[in-house]
Amino acid sequence: MKINNFELEKKEAAQWLLKNDYSGEKIYIFALENLLQQMEEEVFIQARNVALLPGLAGPVYLMPDAHSGYGAPIGTVFAMKEKEGYIAPGAVGYDINCGMRLILTHLTFAEVSPFLEKLVNLLFEYIPAGLGRRGFLKINKNELKKIAEEGVNYLIKEKGIGWEEDIEKIEEKGKILGADFSCVSCEAIERGISQLATLGSGNHYLEVQKVEKIFDEKWAKKLGIFANQITIMIHCGSRGFGHQICSDYLRIFEKHLDDYKVKINDRQLACLPIDSTYGQNYLKAMACAANFAFVNREAITYQIRKVFEKIFTKNISTLGLNLVYDVAHNIAKKEVYKGKKVLIHRKGATRSYPDQPVIIGGSMETGSYLLLGTKEALEKSYGSTAHGSGRTMSRAKAKRMIQGQKLWQKMKKEGIYVKSASFSGLAEEAGFAYKNISDVVKSINQAGLSKPIAYFKPIGNIKG
């Protein structure tokens, strides 16, 4: 099959091989044919640039929600050799540890529905979204250091914010090892202090959802999920702290490419040896940003619990608000596959280990999925799967197609109450600007990368 001048060969169900017309590693794409057809040419060009990076330990994988990014497409997974491998900050992404978190309430749709607008309005008040709003957590540089180096553990045990039982339900227990605050710039520190406990903007959101469909009764029951239950989903990351760290190290890496005789096709893919001082420093700073993001989502969860207590005037144990899981989709981590330690880069891709919950966030109009990681993913995709819907339309085009206010009214009629910091930003995130989330889930299910447990329909949303 030929798409955008690239030849593809079908290997298995929802798995394609990009025909090799270059000297790099193989590229596999997990997607149903209709999703493949929607991928822009730039996706294939960028994937080919990734496959030509030095130090790769094996193939490059693209997920069904892949779309063009910078350097690497969003939806890319690859592994670097532990010793001779390279680290590429741009292939982790600006928003280090951008990720998803799913929280369950004990409440049903019927119980929440009469209070929905009040609930969403108060969530918007308690959890700053968009530009120019500070979070409730006022911290100094020393506290930021502890957050960055110790992660969620510090927030819960030292600051008393969050629940101890949450820790077990966060990827890496909310702390990526090796974080060293001395590798973080003053600019990143300033951006971090001003943005902790905030949601951000763009495609980031906090959503109130209803359990619409259950695919796997056994696992749903095991995780405490039932029909018509109200759940909360958070999508956000390390805010300006992570963005600044990525920008800082891209600048440093680019300056030293010649020192290590690295040739790249895109400046955004600047990479240096993992064991170089710069490589090590980036990994230490990246871990700081990843921990910041885990803390950010835990702090937001703390606010969500307060809002629910306030609105429903019930004890928190009656309301639930327990964490199902918190998982990153922009990160580099040392993991072991087939007995070999490698540095996995996941940019817009979620870890999918056997029996691990996988959260795939859809557009604000179409809903989201909870899935389960599989053993097959370990063999096929370095234990990775998709992360979301993936855009198919530019932000400008989405805004030309619908006005933010009209979209807001349309969604309200459909039973989704939105509180947004910007109508313009809302229009950019319209459902039609994204791929069909169900096709993404079908793709990863057919490819064996993760199995669906439940589908959640949005009923309330706060956005930046």
Partner: protein, 139 residues
């Protein structure tokens, strides 16, 4: 002459722009305008505050421009400041500048946030009688 142009068929998750200027100073001025218009509405931003003695360095003009834009992002996030205008002074590969603008307040319309400037596709070109910067903002 166009001050800037948005390309909406590329980098669909973000924003690709080309910004123009007949001189280096005009180019920086238009970069401020394009930046602030992307985030808010330039007409609504007031020049009521000044940040003086800002500096960026670079090995060449494109690097100075890149670092200048990164400074605008930093000031927006860390100081909640949006610029409307600038006063620039070049000395070799160092740019000293002051920014006029305002702190982001609730009454300022917000369209979107610029979180980073990508290295990907970033280019500064000197044409016959103008400068052109091609850039992608991470949104």
């Amino acid at each position: 002459m166009k001050r800037w142009q948005v390309f909406d068929k590329e980098n669909i998750a973000d924003i690709k722009l080309a910004v123009f200027g007949r001189t280096k100073k005009e180019l920086l001025q238009n970069l401020i305008q394009a930046f602030t218009e992307t985030v808010s509405a330039i007409k609504k931003v007031n020049k009521k505050e000044v940040i003086k003695d800002l500096k960026v360095k670079g090995e060449n003009f494109p690097e100075v421009v890149f670092n200048f834009i990164e400074k605008l992002i930093f000031l927006k996030d860390a100081k909640f400041f949006l610029a409307k205008d600038g006063i620039f002074k070049f000395k070799n590969s160092e740019l000293t500048f002051s920014l006029l603008g305002q702190t982001i307040t609730k009454d300022l319309p917000i369209k979107t946030d610029i979180k980073a400037l990508a290295k990907h596709k970033f280019q500064v070109k000197k044409e016959k009688n103008y400068y052109k910067v091609s850039l992608v903002f991470d949104i």
